[in-house]
Assembly symmetry: C2
Homo-oligomer: 129 residues x 2
């Protein structure tokens, strides 16, 4: 039983688990995405984050188009076995599809979501048509 560790995860009814990517050097929470068994197995095998895209319903090697891959330094599982936490090195310093460093760029201030992080690169130049 080579993949007992995969079976110890509490996969959701649709076979997924939410995954937090945290940047090693800054400690910033970069993004949250999802994995299925195959995505997690491939992530471990390749040492780079491979997620399951719920919208496109297919494996998504993060950075395959943008070049903004994530080198996975370690993988942690929470007490309930239903959330993963990856420590990553973020290639290009951009994790978010909006061209920002991380996805959590809206901060609640006086009942308003205020954008607190700059766009580092125009998404139009990140993603080829």
């Amino acid at each position: 039983m080579a993949s007992t560790w995969l079976s110890e995860i509490n996969w959701s009814d649709d076979g997924l688990i939410p995954v937090i990517a945290q940047e090693v050097k800054s400690g910033k929470v970069l993004m949250v995405a999802w994995m299925n068994r195959e995505a997690l197995r491939l992530t471990v095998e390749k040492g780079e984050a491979i997620y399951w895209s719920r919208s496109r319903k297919k494996l998504w090697h993060k950075g395959e188009e943008s070049g903004h891959t994530q080198k996975v330094m370690d993988i942690r599982l929470d007490c309930d076995g239903d959330v993963l936490l990856l420590s990553v090195e973020q290639s290009g310093g951009i994790a978010c599809h909006t061209g920002r460093h991380h996805c959590f760029f809206r901060k609640l201030e006086s009942d308003q979501w205020v954008i607190t992080s700059p766009i580092l690169k125009n998404p139009d130049t990140i993603y080829k048509k």
Copy 2:
């Protein structure tokens, strides 16, 4: 419309959003829980994390029993509007119901989940019967 900011969140079909609690001083990701509208409104009002317990189907003022409350320093929303990130001060230094500092205490090492964080307090002494 006093709570426009609440409506800008992409609540799940069952009216919830996953919430990551990150400790301010250490940068550690402590835990992931869920909120509904009321939980988030109360969290903002009281300045302490109030989650929605999916198992007990009721509001859960984190620390109400254990004393391990979370003072909320800021609240962030991700690009898709479907994940929240709280910066918190963790009272008692224990976020996990197992008596550990954080919930992500299992690390993948050579195809095994290895426990890497000590139990700081016996859960039997944290939770009164």
